[in-house]
Symmetry: C2
Amino acid sequence: MPIQIIPITGLPIIKEGDDLAELTVKSLKEQGLLPIEKDVYVFSHVIASRVEGKQVDLEKVEPSQKAEKYAEITGKDPRLLQVILDESRVVRRIGPGVIITETKHGFVCANAGVDKSNVPGETIVSPLPDDPDITARNIRTRFNELAGVNVGVIICDTHGRAHRDGEINVTVGASGFEVIRDRRGEFDLFGYELKVKRTTVSDELSSAAELVIGQSDEGVPAALIRGYDIVLSESGSAQDIVRGREKDLFL
Amino acid sequence: MPIQIIPITGLPIIKEGDDLAELTVKSLKEQGLLPIEKDVYVFSHVIASRVEGKQVDLEKVEPSQKAEKYAEITGKDPRLLQVILDESRVVRRIGPGVIITETKHGFVCANAGVDKSNVPGETIVSPLPDDPDITARNIRTRFNELAGVNVGVIICDTHGRAHRDGEINVTVGASGFEVIRDRRGEFDLFGYELKVKRTTVSDELSSAAELVIGQSDEGVPAALIRGYDIVLSESGSAQDIVRGREKDLFL
């Protein structure tokens, strides 16, 4: 059976307090679809942050001395640097045009995930939600209330990679399913036991979703992936993907 | 329109000299499908290497002193270490249970992409094809001969990531389309020009494909992604994703 990647079209411009699950169900209905068990709903972090009012107006930010210093190094706005530092545990790399930090959630990425595009008002920036797993869980709970089904929910962001060019979509928040599929102990085509394979299915689902999120000129901020057999789990969390510093070979 | 991820089912055990495009077209026909323009075909590197006879019998490998030394550090078979070194330009990280190298193609990954599973015979290992872009191009040419359509072809492998746990599927060879979509200059939902977005769509397509490749217990080694609007290009190459050492912040 093919897996389908379905764009959630016709969403209004999302604003603080909006009910993303309800708006998504409405959009699906207009496409003649209803939520079903094991659907995976993937939302861009920008709309998730906006729903939670997690936006910062740079006009109201007073940059610290450190932010001023980093602004000089990177050539970026010192107020933006302040927001990035506020969202970060530690700076991993810094240079002209680039700052890569470890966010307070543990993700290693450029600008601590603070996004400038897709945000109304030139001085408004959009950090990640404070706890994207909770964001995902709240949306999942609403899907269950509205449609009576167990689904997976992902909050995604586009990240660069240490050793490959360009960005891909990855998971920053997840709820409802096991984000890593541990295939060790399974057998391959020839009956050999797999020794090492642990697949981060939620990152693969996030990247799949971006094929419709990123492709559209109309700004589709969400996607449904239907037909992938997620392992439902109450404890699924994007924190399972965070590599602790003690295991990081590229500190 | 939804994008579809279609498993290529019913392939025989692939052997040296097999025609992957022809076998794929046959498999599609059995599913009632024909190749169409802008289809993307994703093949696991293991079957691509096998078609090209790119397999090594460890019984016939004489490990060098260096391979013996690295075997002690990693706890791996010295003959496997020799194959890994033969496939690599430089070792990036090494420790107990792990060796990360820069392959001769420029990919930074564990074991230089040399794969042990899915290979018949316990001592047979499967390196990446010598030039996975050429592998992809040859398959693409055959699709055009067989079905008269322009498609994209990807050779994929599962890689770990520097800063995230678990593995995801990425592109090691590509042909027929632009692997990176440069969105700089496009406009977002609010009319703001995107300044930085370069999306590695071929890695996202590879990850999407793994949702059917990796999920099956029956060992599906290939997938078709239909409905994504690739930008056809004669010069598309996985080398576009290779980050030169001069740009690598995590050497």
